[in-house]
Symmetry: C2
């Protein structure tokens, strides 16, 4: 049961880029709900990101308008005009203010976004709105994704049950620096806007902001959390038991969606968890984790199921951590210790390493022996298909 | 004419990893010459790097001993013992002190280096030493390289002509943070050791330290400059006309070798120069250049000859430069301006972009409009063959 009372969705095939598939989505929230959003930190952010940030600041959001196939990024002033025009069209037909609509785009960068397909699709979209269209929406926002991504949780709070449902898309240009490519999460709980924003930021920091396919932070990353309030069940603090339960469930939805993005990473054949332990601070933990996660040599060894652990060691060594005591560092592939004392663990065997590398889910654990901070980054391998997908996309 | 009077070389097939090819090199310099060296900044540096650093500090270097196929990295204490033992063997047979030998290794990380093949090969190597073996040496140090890399220059100084000859190897795990995988340069000029080190550091900063294949800084990077002094022509300052001529020729040899490494980058089909202009400082120029050079999406677009300039723009945007004015940035593919005013240049055509992208040598020029600093980084594209080479290497 994915439904969120007070939130309705509709999809349509507007032909903006793709033929014979839905490529445009409207998500409507009942009046009186609250909305939180996080956006890419890429300086060349897309036009819809700029407009969505402006509109979100004014509050009272009623509609999200999303298209796939054209990112409306790198489009300068005409791009901003197109993003605003699509909001104006929807607002006019739905009877709300233009600033109550948040626009989102995903797809190819640098092509002008045509407004006509929106004008033609919006009347039908408004007629088709339904609480049951979450999966259709998850499909309509896909680009190089191969599977739709949807997560839902029901949480028992003191005032009754609330539901949290989210969808996401993303497969390449994935190294979110704020939120993933596109993700929309909704709940029927009553949550004040400021608290909603805090809850979303916390959840995203430990989910979407900790995944990477290729290190390329998108121009269009956006994550939105809607709280319709239709359940009447109130969450009014992050610190009491209800707040903690709600935050945990929201964290699960976001982490679940983030993991689905990595499983569906372009060309990915493996899900790889990089866990850095005993770091002196969060910055060095993240530096080591991302250096390993972005190493093309580590990623191709993972693709080949080759326990070429020297490449992991080399990546840790070049992560830029000052005064690293390499003799104290230990590295594991799942439960197999591969590195200790500056080199191969004395009991390590190629056979044991090979057995782990053949798995479709692998944890690389790195103990820096410097402090108490821990971080985890999810990534995938680098395969022929990544090159194929990205050498052929667009053409 | 590559010969350097006072420097002799020999190669042999020791069977350390490869069959039926030379894989070990000795370079001998006449007594009284000077030697400068630069090594990787990877914290997990290889055992021979540690030993070479120690020996170089003691001065009076007479021999370089190099093997290909086994990196002797990630090998802990046994690795250090093996590196020292190979120096001791050579010193014993050549009649010099062990600290007058610098050891170097390149190849697979994490495998113990066998000493026996050295013991068997060294007598023959010492007998075969010749001033004519530069190209054989360039071949013997190759791993995934497909061509030997050699550069030579003759410089007319006030005291007479001097020659500078260098060889290098490297194709993957290339993002030198001090010097490339392995490079050996020699001259017959007379150059005091401190000046030699300064001249080498300057040359390397603008050549080997400005190239990247895959962003993976090696554990074994090393660059050595020998000055045999056999010409009797003295270079005693970096600032006078002779010093500047010598530095220019040395810079050309290093830049030539660095470019050969990128042309021979694993799976590379294109040579790509990333030039960042009008940066506020060197750090942001390098950050932007390397972010573009390492972007898998930019690199696969280059492989596909697809003028998908949105990926370049996205990479510039995520380079972490604070307060970037995206509307002032301009980006060119060779002479074609693609980005201006935050989006596509008004006169840009897909046809013009396509024409550039089909070339085998391309310059991506990025004008940040923030200051006066300029930097250039050389890189290559990301092809199926990069994945193939790195998924299959070792097995």
């Amino acid at each position: 049961m994915t439904r969120i009372a007070g939130v309705r969705l509709a999809t349509a095939a507007a032909g903006i880029r793709y033929k014979n598939r839905d490529d445009i989505v409207v998500i409507e929230m009942t009046a009186g709900g609250t909305c939180a959003g996080l956006f890419t930190r890429n300086a060349f952010c897309a036009a819809p990101v700029t407009v969505a940030r402006e509109h979100l600041a004014k509050g009272s959001i009623r509609y999200l308008l999303i298209n796939a196939g054209n990112a409306n990024a790198g489009t300068g002033v005409p791009g901003l005009r197109a993003a605003r025009e699509t909001c104006r069209l929807l607002a006019g037909m739905a009877g709300c203010a233009m600033s109550q609509v948040l626009p989102f785009s995903t797809g190819v960068i640098g092509q002008d976004l045509p407004v006509d397909p929106f004008a033609q699709a919006i009347p039908g979209l408004l007629k088709d709105l339904s609480e049951d269209s979450w999966e259709r929406a998850a499909r309509a926002i896909m680009t190089t994704d191969t599977v739709p991504k949807l997560q839902t949780r029901t949480v028992a709070l003191s005032g009754g049950d609330v539901v949290i449902t989210g969808i996401a898309k993303g497969s390449g240009m994935i190294c979110p620096d704020m939120a993933t490519m596109l993700s929309y999460v909704a709940t029927d709980a009553v949550v004040p806007q400021a608290l909603l924003q805090t809850l979303l930021a916390n959840a995203v920091d430990h989910s979407f902001n900790r995944i990477t396919v290729d290190g390329d932070t998108s121009t269009n990353d956006a994550c939105v959390l809607l709280a319709s309030g239709a359940s009447g069940v109130v969450v009014d603090s992050a610190d009491n038991e209800d707040g903690q339960r709600f935050a945990a469930a929201l964290g699960e939805v976001c982490a679940g969606l983030a993991e689905m993005i990595i499983r569906d990473g372009e060309g990915a054949t493996k899900l790889v968890r990089i866990r850095v332990e005993s770091a002196a601070d969060d910055a060095e933990a993240a530096a080591v984790a991302y250096t390993v996660a972005h190493s093309p040599l580590v990623k191709t060894a993972l693709f080949a199921s080759d326990p070429n652990w020297g490449r992991i060691l080399a990546a840790v060594g070049r992560a830029g951590v000052a005064d690293l005591d390499v003799d104290a560092i230990r590295i594991w592939l799942d439960d197999v210790c591969i590195v200790e004392g500056g080199g191969r663990h004395p009991e390590y065997t190629e056979q044991a390493g090979q057995a782990v590398m053949k798995r479709s889910e692998i944890t690389i654990r790195i103990d820096l022996a410097r402090g108490e901070r821990v971080t985890e980054v999810l990534t995938c391998d680098l395969s022929y298909d990544y090159v194929k997908i990205n050498a052929e996309y667009r053409s």
